[in-house]
């Protein structure tokens, strides 16, 4: 099964994050990449940089900021391939942001 991991932190914690992704080794991702489990993943810029796009009556409407005002914001994602939810949970639990932040685990269709 393919799972998307949404890496989330609460808005207060967002302020304390380094502006740019940390350079150098990332044991969690490196290990999963080597095992062929992590298919993709990246860090996203803060929700301040987000723009929402919708089309209503043929008109393109833009919004400033993320689509939903929530306590948690998505700061990155990972795509992993594993056998079942239990494995995905175990992998998510080892993600460095799981402690303090939270990881939403969502299966892909198919």
């Amino acid at each position: 099964m393919k799972f998307m991991l949404f890496i989330c932190v609460d808005t207060a914690a967002l302020e304390t994050l380094p502006e740019k992704p940390v350079e150098g080794p990332m044991p969690w991702a490196d290990e999963l990449n080597a095992a062929g489990i992590r298919l993709d993943g990246d860090r996203l810029r803060s929700p301040d940089a987000a723009t929402t796009v919708r089309v209503r009556g043929g008109e393109v409407l833009l919004g400033d900021g993320p689509f939903a005002e929530t306590k948690e914001v998505i700061i990155g994602y990972d795509v992993i391939e594993c056998t079942n939810l239990d494995e995905a949970i175990a992998i998510a639990a080892r993600h460095p942001v799981a402690e303090g932040g939270l990881i939403e685990v969502r299966p892909f269709f198919g």
């Binding site: 099964m1 799972f3 056998t83 079942n84 939810l85 239990d86 995905a88 949970i89 299966p107």
Partner: protein, 431 residues
């Protein structure tokens, strides 16, 4: 399974066959469903086919008697039904259908017949797989309860809806959502591996204990107790204890439930009013069940790893075996609550500890602990806190304060039976 008792019945008195059918249903339902889910991977199909097999069994067994291995008989009938349904569904299931066809199951009416290499035999772990999946922590707690009652206990949606105080439509929706989540989220149908077995077993026990408590002290509704839930919880815990014989906490929970439930008849008087432990007629306690609870607990304690359920069962055993309320060993109970606090810190346990201390060292000592608990605010709005405080003030002769505390307790009490009891106690103050 009670093969020995079932085998001789061919025909028989109608009532006897009905009773045997009911017993077989309770014994075999989860086994049949569990096996069908493992083979087909389809929860709805499994339940439908199991239901169908039991319907056929009812008709057949009434005339032919109950077969020697009813479980295997039922699995075979259910399997034929599954193949049939899958055939009707067409190509989508072609591959599965093929595998079901190729695997032939031989005779089932004879216990000496071996069923091998079919994939259809009931594996010893099938029921555990089912229980662990129904209680998977990725499901909402209310879904775990509903799924366990439906799939493991075999209750109908209507029965579960009544027990959980929601409409049948709401319960049906909850069950559909839960099954969809298992399928879509990729919840595996398996017994957790050794490194996860401990915490996952605790999760299952929590669901069973919740079920029991909801039956024992209903959180809402007109009835103070809902005994069918207690009976189901005990039956399920008994099953789990049989499947996980080396986990003393499972046996501990079973003992705890048996000991509490043994007092059921004495907890309500003829007018439906709540009777507290001290005032209960101990001759109405169910002695054989207390003996079973104590024996179960003693066997569990031999593992020398007393977790929260065994400690709570020990406390319950002290109550259940005290000849009179006055002869209760409260100082031992207070000590057990302190032990319990070390393995399971909780303000509710602290409150119970305070009650035990009040009984062994006097109401003033208990009240000191209660007031400390009140001050830290973790139990704000918790009905028993106000009731305990009222009782202790009452016993200390501080009537004006007690009256205030009773008022708060009555406002917070969740059921009419409890409100009546507290009003009665308050009336003693002014009267």
């Amino acid at each position: 399974m009670s093969d020995g008792r079932l085998v001789e019945h061919t025909g028989g008195e109608p009532d006897e066959v009905e009773a045997l059918l009911a017993e077989t249903f309770r014994e075999e339902w989860s086994r049949v469903v569990a096996t069908l889910i493992r083979v087909t991977g389809d929860w709805d199909l499994a339940q439908e086919c199991a239901q169908d097999a039991f319907t056929q069994a009812t008709a057949r067994w009434r005339t032919d008697g109950v077969p020697r291995t009813p479980g295997a008989w039922l699995v075979t009938v259910a399997r034929h039904r599954a193949v049939d349904l899958l055939r009707r569904r067409g190509l989508e299931a072609a591959k599965l259908r093929e595998s079901l066809h190729l695997r032939e199951v031989t005779v089932v009416d004879d216990a000496s017949a071996t069923i091998s290499g079919t994939g259809w035999e009931t594996l010893p772990d099938d029921q555990l797989r089912l229980i662990f999946t129904c209680c998977h922590p990725a499901l909402a707690l209310e879904s775990r309860v509903a799924l366990t009652l439906r799939t493991v206990a075999g209750l109908s949606t209507a029965e579960i809806a009544r027990a959980c105080l929601v409409s049948e439509a709401t319960m049906a929706k909850r069950l559909v959502r839960a099954k969809a989540k298992i399928r879509d989220a990729g919840i595996p149908y398996r017994v957790p591996p050794a490194d996860q077995l401990g915490p996952r077993t605790s999760g299952v026990l929590a669901v069973l204990y919740l079920l029991f408590n909801e039956g024992y002290a209903a959180s809402g509704g007109d009835q103070w107790m809902r005994p069918p839930l207690c009976t189901e919880a005990i039956r399920l815990t008994r099953l789990l204890a049989r499947l996980l014989p080396t986990d003393p906490e499972v046996a501990g929970l079973l003992a705890l439930m048996l000991l509490h439930d043994a007092r059921r008849a004495a907890r309500v008087d003829s007018a439906g009013r709540l009777v507290t432990l001290a005032d209960q007629d101990r001759t109405r306690w169910h002695r054989p069940q207390i003996d079973e609870g104590v024996a179960t607990l003693e066997a569990a304690l031999e593992h020398r790893s007393a977790g929260p359920y065994q400690l709570q069962a020990l406390i319950a055993a002290h109550h259940a075996t005290a000849p009179t309320a006055e002869q209760t060993d409260w100082s031992a109970i207070a000590g057990l609550y302190r032990q319990l606090l070390r393995v399971m810190p909780s303000p509710v346990v602290e409150l119970n500890h305070a009650v035990a201390v009040a009984m062994s060292d006097g109401p003033a000592a208990g009240l000191t602990l209660v007031e400390r608990l009140e001050a830290d605010g973790r139990l704000v709005g918790y009905p028993p806190l106000a009731a305990v405080r009222a009782d202790l003030l009452h016993r200390l002769g501080r009537h004006a304060e007690a009256a205030d505390a009773y008022r708060t307790a009555i406002e917070l009490a969740p059921t009419a039976a409890e409100r009546d009891y507290l009003s009665g106690r308050r009336a003693e103050l002014t009267g």
